[in-house]
C-alpha cells in the first residue's frame, strides 16, 4: 500500500491521530508526519489537566460531607424530601433556602464541571494532541460514568489517577489500576459484593436471626463480567457464566474505605472478612485462595490472554481508522500487543507505522466532543466556562462524563450522524462562529490551517462566497471534511 504525499499525511496526522489542527500545527507536522506523532509518545505518564484538582479520596469525602449537610438541613427544616440518595438535587420552587443551598453544594461537590472544563482546556490547548487522543481512547475503554450516583465525584479523578499515568505503560497495569480504583468499584457495584460463605455473610446471617429485616449481603458479579466482556478478553473471549461467577467470588473483598476505615476513607481497601474463601477455577485455570491477590492474578491472566490482544487491536483500529477496520491493520496491532506483552507505547507506535492507518479517505465521523474540541483548536481558543462545552454536548447526545453504559461511547458514524444531531451541530456552529468571527485570520485561512490538503474545492468555494465571516466559519465547521477525521 502506497502512502499519501506528505501534505496529505500531515493533514491525516493532525485530524485522524490528533484532535484537529491548531493554527500552526500543520506546519510542524508537515516535514515528518510520522515523526511528529512519535515524538508525542512517552515512557512516562500522559499530560494532566491544568490546575490543582483534588484526589479521588478528597472528592469522595467532600461529596459525602455535602450529602450529610444536605440531610441535616432537611431535618432541620422538618421536611424529608423524596430525593434519591446520592443524587444531586435540583432546587425546586418552594423549597426552603437552606435546603436549596445544601442541595447545590452537593452538586458542586461532585466536581464534575471543574474536572470536565479542565480536561477540555487541556485538549483544546495541547501541543501533543495524539497523546491526548490516546488517553481519551483508553478512558472510553475503561468507562466509568457519572450516570451512577456513587461514582459521580470520582469519574474525573479516575481519568487522572488511572488512565493518564498508565496510558503508555503496560496494559496489564492499566487493567489492574482500573479494576481496583474506587470509581470502578463503585460504578460497577464491586464495593458492596460479599462472598456468600465469607465471615461478613455469616455475621449478617446472625444479625438476621435477631432482626429479619437486617440486610442480607451477597455476591455482585457486575464488575467481574465487564472486566471480561469489555476490558479484556471481549465477549467472544471464551468464558462462560460460571467463569463470571467464579471471578466475582475471587474479587469479593475489593472495596472502598468508608468512615470506619480511618485514613483509608475513599481509597481502595481489601476486606478479608468479605472475601469468599476457597480456590476458584476460571477459564480452565485454578486459582488458590490467596486472599486479596487472588483476583489480581486473574486480572493479570486475563490481560495476557490472546483474546485480549485481538479485542484491544480491533478497538484501537476502530477508534483511529475506520468503523470497519481492515483485518491487516487489526492483525498488525494484535502482533505488536502480543510481542510487546501489552506495551501500550509500542502499540501506539505500531499504529503510526501501519500504512493502513494512513488511508486518505476520512471515514471516522467525529463524536460531539471531537467536533467541539477541533472547532476550538481551529480558532486557537479554549472553552473558559464549563457551560460552553457541557451544554452543547448535552444537546448533541454526549453528556459530559456520562456514557450510557460500561461499554462507553459509540464509535460509529451511524450513531452520531443522526438527523437531529446534525441540526444541533449547525445550531452550535452558528453561535460559536458569531463569538469567534472577530479573530485576526480570514475564514479561508482558518480553513486552510485546520484542514490543509483535506479542504475540498466545493467547501473552499462556499467559504469564499459566504456573505459574512460568521457564515463562512459555520460552513467550515459543518463541512463534510471538518465533520470527519
Amino acid at each position: 500500500m502506497a502512502l499519501p504525499n506528505s501534505d496529505q499525511m500531515a493533514a491525516i496526522a493532525v485530524t485522524r491521530f490528533g484532535l484537529g489542527a491548531r493554527p500552526s500545527e500543520l506546519e510542524l507536522a508537515k516535514s515528518d508526519p510520522k515523526g511528529w506523532l512519535k515524538a508525542q509518545l512517552t515512557r512516562g505518564p500522559a499530560d494532566q489537566p491544568p490546575g490543582q484538582l483534588p484526589t479521588s479520596a478528597e472528592r469522595f469525602v467532600a461529596y459525602r460531607d455535602a450529602q450529610q449537610a444536605r440531610q441535616a438541613a432537611q431535618r432541620a427544616q422538618g421536611g424529608v424530601t423524596a430525593q434519591p440518595k446520592g443524587r444531586p438535587a435540583t432546587p425546586m420552587p418552594g423549597q426552603p433556602m437552606a435546603t436549596v443551598q445544601a442541595a447545590v453544594s452537593v452538586a458542586d461537590a461532585t466536581g464534575l464541571q471543574d474536572e470536565f472544563i479542565a480536561r477540555a482546556q487541556l485538549a483544546a490547548n495541547s501541543a501533543a494532541p495524539f497523546r491526548e487522543r490516546w488517553v481519551l481512547f483508553w478512558a472510553n475503554h475503561f468507562t466509568v460514568s457519572a450516570t451512577k450516583g456513587a461514582a459521580r465525584p470520582l469519574v474525573g479523578p479516575f481519568e487522572r489517577e488511572v488512565i493518564r499515568p498508565s496510558a503508555f505503560g503496560r496494559f496489564e497495569n492499566m487493567a489492574v489500576l482500573s479494576s481496583s480504583h474506587p470509581a470502578m468499584l463503585l460504578y460497577l457495584d464491586q464495593a458492596q459484593s460479599i462472598g456468600p460463605y465469607s465471615m461478613r455473610a455469616a455475621q449478617a446471617e446472625r444479625a438476621r436471626l435477631r432482626n429479619p429485616n437486617a440486610p442480607k449481603p451477597g455476591l455482585n458479579e457486575n464488575l467481574a463480567r465487564e472486566i471480561m466482556e469489555l476490558h479484556t478478553v471481549g465477549v467472544d473471549g471464551g468464558y462462560t457464566q460460571a467463569d463470571v461467577t467464579e471471578f466475582a467470588r475471587a474479587m469479593t473483598g475489593w472495596s472502598v474505605g468508608n468512615a470506619m476505615d480511618g485514613d483509608q476513607v475513599g481509597k481502595f481497601v481489601y476486606r478479608a472478612v468479605s472475601h469468599e474463601p476457597g480456590a476458584r477455577t476460571i477459564m480452565g485455570k485454578r486459582y488458590p485462595d490467596t486472599g486479596g491477590t487472588q483476583a489480581l492474578t486473574v486480572i493479570r491472566d486475563l490481560a495476557a490472554h490472546p483474546a485480549t490482544a485481538r479485542h484491544i487491536a480491533r478497538k484501537v483500529a476502530t477508534h483511529f481508522v475506520s468503523d470497519e477496520p481492515s483485518p491487516a491493520l487489526v492483525s498488525k496491532l494484535e502482533r505488536s500487543f502480543v510481542a510487546s506483552r501489552g506495551d501500550l507505547a509500542q502499540l501506539a507506535a505500531a499504529l503510526i507505522d501501519a500504512d493502513e492507518a494512513w488511508a486518505p479517505a476520512p471515514t471516522k465521523f467525529k463524536t460531539p466532543y471531537d467536533f467541539l474540541i477541533s472547532a476550538h483548536r481551529a480558532l486557537g481558543v479554549a472553552p473558559l466556562r464549563p457551560g460552553q462545552i457541557v451544554q452543547p454536548l448535552n444537546q448533541m447526545g454526549q453528556q459530559a462524563f456520562s456514557p450510557p453504559s460500561p461499554k462507553g461511547w459509540s464509535e460509529d458514524a451511524a450513531t452520531w450522524a443522526a438527523p437531529d444531531a446534525l441540526i444541533k451541530r449547525l445550531s452550535w456552529s452558528q453561535g460559536f462562529a458569531s463569538q469567534v468571527s472577530g479573530g485576526p485570520r480570514e475564514p479561508m485561512k482558518v480553513a486552510m490551517d485546520a484542514l490543509g490538503s483535506r479542504l475540498s474545492a466545493p467547501t473552499g468555494a462556499a467559504i469564499t462566497s459566504a456573505e459574512s465571516r460568521e457564515e463562512a466559519l459555520t460552513i467550515l465547521f459543518m463541512s463534510p471534511e471538518f465533520q470527519r477525521r
Partner: protein, 399 residues
C-alpha cells in the same frame, strides 16, 4: 374475543359515531395506523414492572424488593402493575393495556450490548445485521407514505438502515435559511450527511408546526431530579404526539429510556427503579393525551433486552436475567389477559436455576403487532423484517 370487539364497533355505529371511518371500506385499512416502540435499556426488572402477586414464590425470592401487596395496582388475582404505573394501569382498566409477563429475545444473552443488538436488529445472531427491524418494516411499506422517527440525539439500531428515519430531541434549532441551503448543496455527494441533514431540516420545520417542546433537558438528567422530571417526561410524550399528529408526521416512532440496570439498591415502591417507571408512565401519559383521537389508531410496545434474576442479590438489587415483561398499549387493543404463558417462579421452572424463564419469543409479539396493526404481510415478516423466523408464529388477537 373477536365477537366482543365486533359488538363494540356495531355499538359505535349505532350511536352514529365515525360513520365515515367505518363506511370507507376501500380505504387502506392501515393507512393511518401508528406504532411507538419504547426500549428500556439496561435490562428492566419485569417482576417489578408487573409483580406476579399470585405466584407463591414471588415474595420469598424478592425479599425487601418485592412490591408489597398493599401497594400494587392490581390487574387480576395473578398480576399487578408497579405502583408508579398509574397512567398505564388506568389504560389497562379500560382494556387499552396488556402485559406479556415472560418474553425474551431468542438467544439468552447476558450482555446488555449483545442482547440490545438482538432485540433491535431482529436477527438471532449477535451483530448479525447493521439495520434494525423497524427500519426494515419501513422498507416493506415502500409504496405507502410512512415515516419513522427516533427520539434522542443518537440514532438507535432499531431504526437504522436503508430507509432514512428522522430523529428529534428537545433543544435549539438552526437559525435562518441560507445555511441550510448552502450545506444541502455541500452535502450533495455525501450519502451519509445529505440524507441525515435533509431529514433533520424537515423535522425541525415540523417541530415548529407541532409545537414540540423546546426545553433542553436530557431525559437522564431530568430523571434524576424527582418530581420535576415527570413534568418533563409528560411534555416529551406530548411533543412526540405533536409530531405524530402532523400531516406527513411519523407513524413509526422509537423511544429509548435508559437507566434500568438495577444491580444494587433497586428499591420497591420507591427508589431507583420506581423513578424510572414513573418516568416511563409520564411519557406514556403525555403521549396518550397528546394523541387524543389518534390514540385509537396507535399501538405502543414497551420492551427491554432482558429481565433480571428472580432472586434478590447481595446488594439489594438484581443481576442480568432472561425473561421480562413487555407492555402493549393502545386505544384499539382487544381486551384480554396476559400475552403468553406464565412459567411460574417455582425453583424447577427457573432458567438456569436463576431467572424467570421465557414462554414467548419477543419477535412473536413484534410480529403480531406488525401484522394485525400495520398489516405487514406474513411472508415479509418471516423473511425480511425478522429473517428466518417462520417458526416463530405471530401473536394473534391483539388488535
Amino acid at each position: 374475543m373477536t365477537r366482543s370487539i365486533d359488538l363494540t364497533r356495531r355499538g359505535a355505529l349505532a350511536a352514529g359515531v365515525s360513520i365515515a371511518f367505518f363506511g370507507g371500506g376501500a380505504r387502506a385499512a392501515t393507512g393511518d395506523k401508528k406504532l411507538v416502540v419504547f426500549i428500556q435499556r439496561g435490562g428492566a426488572d419485569g417482576l417489578s414492572v408487573s409483580p406476579p402477586i399470585g405466584d407463591p414464590n414471588y415474595h420469598s425470592l424478592r425479599g425487601e424488593i418485592a412490591i408489597p401487596d398493599s401497594d400494587v395496582l392490581k390487574l387480576d388475582n395473578d398480576f399487578a402493575l408497579h405502583p408508579k404505573l398509574t397512567a398505564i394501569h388506568a389504560l389497562a382498566m379500560n382494556g387499552e393495556a396488556r402485559i406479556a409477563p415472560a418474553v425474551a429475545i431468542p438467544n439468552n444473552q447476558r450482555s446488555h450490548f449483545e442482547a440490545q443488538d438482538v432485540l433491535e436488529s431482529g436477527v438471532t445472531v449477535v451483530y448479525g445485521s447493521t439495520s434494525g427491524w423497524l427500519n426494515r418494516t419501513l422498507g416493506t411499506m415502500a409504496g405507502r407514505k410512512i415515516e419513522g422517527m427516533s427520539i434522542g440525539a443518537q440514532a438507535p439500531l432499531i431504526l437504522r438502515g436503508p430507509v432514512q428515519a428522522a430523529s428529534w430531541s428537545p433543544g435549539q434549532t438552526a437559525r435562518g435559511d441560507r445555511l441550510p441551503m448552502i450545506l444541502t448543496d455541500l452535502y450533495h455527494n455525501d450519502a451519509l450527511l445529505s440524507r441525515a441533514f435533509a431529514s433533520g431540516l424537515e423535522t425541525a420545520a415540523m417541530a415548529t408546526m407541532a409545537g414540540a417542546t423546546m426545553t433542553a433537558a436530557p431525559a437522564r438528567a431530568a430523571a434524576a431530579q424527582g418530581g420535576g422530571a415527570n413534568v418533563q417526561a409528560k411534555q416529551l410524550g406530548g411533543s412526540i404526539a405533536g409530531f405524530m399528529n402532523q400531516p406527513g408526521g411519523p407513524q413509526i416512532v422509537a423511544v429509548s429510556i435508559d437507566g434500568w440496570d438495577t444491580h444494587a439498591n433497586q428499591g420497591a415502591t420507591d427508589g431507583a427503579l420506581a423513578g424510572r417507571l414513573a418516568y416511563l408512565d409520564a411519557v406514556v401519559d403525555g403521549l396518550q393525551k397528546g394523541l387524543a383521537g389518534e390514540w385509537r389508531n396507535t399501538v405502543c410496545i414497551v420492551a427491554t433486552e432482558f429481565g433480571r434474576t428472580a432472586k434478590i442479590n447481595g446488594t439489594r438489587g438484581t443481576d442480568h436475567g432472561n425473561a421480562s415483561t413487555a407492555l402493549v398499549l393502545g386505544g384499539g387493543l382487544k381486551r384480554g389477559g396476559i400475552i403468553g404463558d406464565w412459567p411460574t417462579l417455582a425453583s424447577n421452572k427457573l432458567n438456569q436455576g436463576r431467572d424467570l424463564a421465557a414462554t414467548l419469543d419477543v419477535r412473536a409479539l413484534f410480529k403480531g403487532v406488525l401484522r394485525e396493526h400495520l398489516g405487514v404481510e406474513t411472508r415479509l415478516l418471516n423473511e425480511t423484517v425478522f429473517p428466518d423466523s417462520a417458526a416463530v408464529a405471530p401473536v394473534t388477537g391483539l388488535v
